[in-house]
Amino acid sequence: MTDEAPEFDLERAWARLSLQLQWADSFWLGFVFVDDARVSETLCDRANQQLAEEGKRLSRFAPAKPEAIDDLVIDLLAGEAGDVAWLDLVRHDDGARAPGWENAWTRVLMRLNERREALRRRFSTGGVVLVTTRDRMLRTPETAPDLWSIRAWALWVASLPMLESTLREDIEIHHRDLPREFAGADVELSRQAVEQARAGTSKPRLIAALLALAGAEMGEGGVLVLSEAEALIETIDPSPGLLRVRLQAGRLWDAMGDRPKAEWSLRATSELARKLVGSDATARPLLAESLHQLGAVLAKRGQFEDAIVQLREALDIHRELARMEPDVHLSRYAADCYNLGVQLGHVGRVEESVEVLRESLDVYRVLASRRPDQFSGHVALNLGTLGVRLTRVGKHEEALVALWECRDMLRMLSEAQPVDSMLMRAENLAVIASVLNTVGRFEEAIDTAKESIELYRLEEKRAGSRDDVCGALAVLGTALLHTGEVEAAMSALEEGLRMALRSSPDTSFYFFSLMPLYRRACAAAGREPAEDLAPILARLKG
């Protein structure tokens, strides 16, 4: 069963649902298939708000355990004419450890299916929304043909980005941060080299000296020097040597933060490389390298589709080169593959992204087995990114396996470099907790989120205040809300909100993630917001 249903994003799904709530005047029934529990919650919250404004009622049914499903059906059938019942079963099974959600969905469908007319009578001017994970769609028509046949709609909704988490999944692995040739270059010596070259007649030598000085100086002085070098490069006839310095210039522009110039320079480099490849085989690795660098710059400029084209070509070349000379090209092959995976994710081609990230992980595992000191960190990063992407395609269990392996590797790395890996560990744990929330394993999410927060706090002591902890607090608050620990949830969310407010303006992202959760917590606790938060919450509501 391969053909997928068309996918809605959250806003399109809401548009469909909102109009249904607004217009329908007799019984209706809708299905939502989504892997992300937050989508269901968001749609439910919005529906609740819209109905409340019309003086109507929404009842949400979200069982904490599969066994609770039978009682839930009885409660659901106690609804009244104009009510809307929201049955949330976006809960993923965990194989042998917590089986039963799939069965619970089947059971509830069967029971409601044979009570279709009872539902129609009970909710005569209202409706019922049945929400579960996407993998259960295929069996749903067969399990509940009577409900399915009268559905007003069935929506397949995409997951949300991991808003609560702070994993930097877009970290790219560059072949080198700075052109190796310039690493540690001495400014004074570089200047002397430039002076000597100016005194001579060799343009290539002057270009090389200028590039060295630009790399050593960086900053404003570096820009001037690099501009001079670029101008000279234009006057030189094409050759593999020229190709190398062109590539250096492009990477220096990038390192200096001038992305338009970097793009221009690297495009020129790759064009030159293409011309040379036909006549000189040594230009082929340089073509791949220039495409890799160009792809990275384009991605930084937000031109993801174009970046993907460049990275894919670079990958194809490096894959082939790695087959012939693995010792030289394997790491480049892995980096191209990983970065392509990251960019594919940025443009929503998540399934392709997953495939490519799996490939890069395989290569990094080979590299790490040979040089664990150098590549174990790459494996961990790759696992973390792959885990997030797997969640987006609904493969939560596989995601958790990857994320847990990432966690274990980071723990191991932290023994050697406790300080450097602390932040990554905190981020990884926040993501794991978020995925656990998504699959409804709230107790585990609480423990994991607490561990993440602890690490963030240690990092805060070491390197100053960080707002990233807000994401982990949001995850913790969500899990606590689900387990009914409302007071603890409020406390976590208040801490997150205060921290987000202190760190403004660029942390509004966290604030707006935390705010609806906090409102829900207040409603669940039957309490007003804390005094210091109430004014801003009221203002934002207005």
Binding site: M1, A5, L19, F27, P141, E142, W156
Partner: protein, 465 residues
Amino acid sequence: MVDPATFKQLKAFFRALQDRPLEPGDPHYVEIFEDHALSSIDPVARMARTIQFATLEPDSPESRSASEFELETVQLFSGHRGTGKSTQLRRLKQQLERSGPYKVVLCDMEDYLPMTDALDVVDFLLAAAGALSEALSVPELLGSDLVHGYWARFTSWLQSQRIEISDLGLKTGEASLGIKLNLKEDVEFRKRIRERMKLHVGAFRTEVHAFVSECLKRLKQRHGQDTQLVILYDSIEHLRGTTSNANEVTASVEALFRGHADALRFPFVHTVFTVPPWLRLQHAGVGERFDGYCQIPCVKVRERARQQGDIVDFQPGLDVLWRVACKRGDPTWLLGGRPEFDELARASGGYLRDLFRMLSILINDAGEYGVPVSAERQKLAVEELRGGYVAFTNRDAVWLRAIECKGALEVEEIEDHHRLARFLDTHILLAYRNGEDWYGVHPLIRADVLRRASEWDAAHERAGT
């Protein structure tokens, strides 16, 4: 956003398309079977005639061609979900009540029986009697004449058979209340009933028949001696198993209608049972034990393809769907014209609920983009609907292709019965009538079926199997 007048009109159209069974007098109602080009048989007229013939004077020449020796009739009525069975049963009720001394009750068996568990004749008769007593308890029929209804009578009957109420897990004082609830909800209760009554099945059948006769007598006392009782048992076709008990449930439904046809024939009463569309297919003899079998097909929007790719419109079908849509709103205004509507009608395969779903999606879109909705939006609506029909494997596709080509359901393996029931239940297969009944794959997935079947063929060719 659109202007308020357009918004209002869209809202009215949207509401008119909402799913609900129609009464024959409803302003949205269109009599599909009055068009003989569309169907040579009006199922309601046929069922009504069977009942009327059986109640005419024996020397009537007309009656001799029907159930000459029968004082009661039992008919089976089938059709896909959403083809309007419930509406047609309401029409039958109305037609009979207008034409003579018929008191017609409609019993929704879904309220009394579990729909995903194997059925036993005892459960079924108990539910049928209970449902009848509740249906008759309305003031215009018997009101409180039945005193305690069947549930109370049943407890007395159990005692007369020396079956302890407590053996069924019921408390004496609450027995009559608990039976209905437990019959539907409690699998253990049903097991206990079957176990305790296995030696009393014949007696229980007699008891239920006696009860139904008692009901008829009281009706005659109250409404005149000519009164005829017609019981329409609806929703029985919803019986189906799950993946774990599908064959068991299927077998139990077959056993009921094949093995207990006599028990279902209530003396002097006319009954209609709705049955799953696959029932008749599985045992051709099923229809012969009853006085009639009618099936409601989908509205035929195309002629049966004689060869692959040979799709020809059936204009009367498209016309009737147009009339149905026009009763609900203005499809020209929404879509731009009749050709656009016909595209949707073809995509629906003549299945009204799918047509309405597509129109609702487009009304929703029109709320944002205005009318008429663009061709692109119309394509997206079709695509959205198609998403609900992807639940079949490449192997299934080969099987579906064969049905699409032959137009007939040929089930070779017993295991395929469940598959057939599943595809009929979920409208992957649609039934049509063309003088004879024929079947086709839903047009939304016809191309997918052919493609995936070819992929299966190719894979097996490569594997040399």
